[in-house]
């Protein structure tokens, strides 16, 4: 049961350009969404989150957009840097103390 889907296994972007990573969810009970970045042999590192009462949250080069009606969120990274190359996971939950449900991840490669 794939409640959180990241349909693009990989994305390649030129340094300085925008990276857009997409995520779809099916469970309408989810009300909080997060993006994590993961390097090989390390744990997921929190990047940015958004509550369902918002449609946009921005933190430096990272912006997350939420479209509740489409059950879709996206992460924009601009400008992309080679150090951004990693696996990006979308995750969702519906309350404090509840589990995170992860997508399958998207491998981002930023070429210099």
């Amino acid at each position: 049961d794939q409640q959180v889907k990241q349909n693009s296994p990989s994305l390649s972007v030129q340094e300085g350009r925008i990276s857009i990573l997409n995520c779809d969810y099916t469970n309408s009970m989810f009300d909080y969404f997060l993006w994590y970045k993961k390097y090989p042999a390390e744990g997921p590192t929190f990047l940015i989150s958004i509550s369902s009462i918002k449609d946009k949250n921005e933190d430096g080069r990272f912006t997350v957009f939420l479209n509740k009606s489409a059950k879709h969120l996206s992460l924009h990274i601009v400008p992309s840097q080679p150090g951004d190359s990693a696996v990006y996971f979308c995750a969702a939950t519906n309350r404090v103390g509840n589990k995170l449900v992860f997508g399958a991840g998207t491998i981002l490669r930023v070429k210099s």
Binding site: Y36, A41, G43, F46, F102, G105
Partner: protein, 111 residues
């Protein structure tokens, strides 16, 4: 900055043996979790723990698995009789106020 720590970083064991994976969550957090990631697959929820008891567990978390918070700092995952398919990265996480922090993981290899 506070962080979640895990030991060991890599555990190799023989099939059928018991393993204990250890985690030290962030000290003022109340919710604790174990996740795992089989190579090339998604991060999967195993179990959540609150107020010294399991609050939720997944289908993966069968009778071979158990968790414990033996003291005020450690949070452990025990696999009683490991199987080949238990080989994975195991991540501990702690959460407070909608902020989940993950440890660096333990790579479990079952031979």
């Amino acid at each position: 900055e506070p962080e979640v720590t895990q030991t060991p970083s890599h555990q190799v064991t023989q099939m059928g043996q018991e393993v204990i994976l250890r985690c030290v969550p962030i000290s003022n957090h109340l919710y604790f979790y174990w996740y795992r990631q089989i190579l090339g697959q998604k991060v999967e929820f195993l179990v959540s723990f609150y107020n010294n008891e399991i609050s939720e567990k997944s289908e993966i978390f069968d009778d071979q698995f158990s968790v414990e918070r033996p003291d005020g700092s450690n949070f452990t995952l025990k696999i009683r009789s490991t199987k080949l398919e238990d080989s994975a990265m195991y991540f501990c996480a702690s959460e407070e106020g909608l902020a989940w922090f993950f440890g660096p993981g333990t790579r479990l290899t079952v031979l």
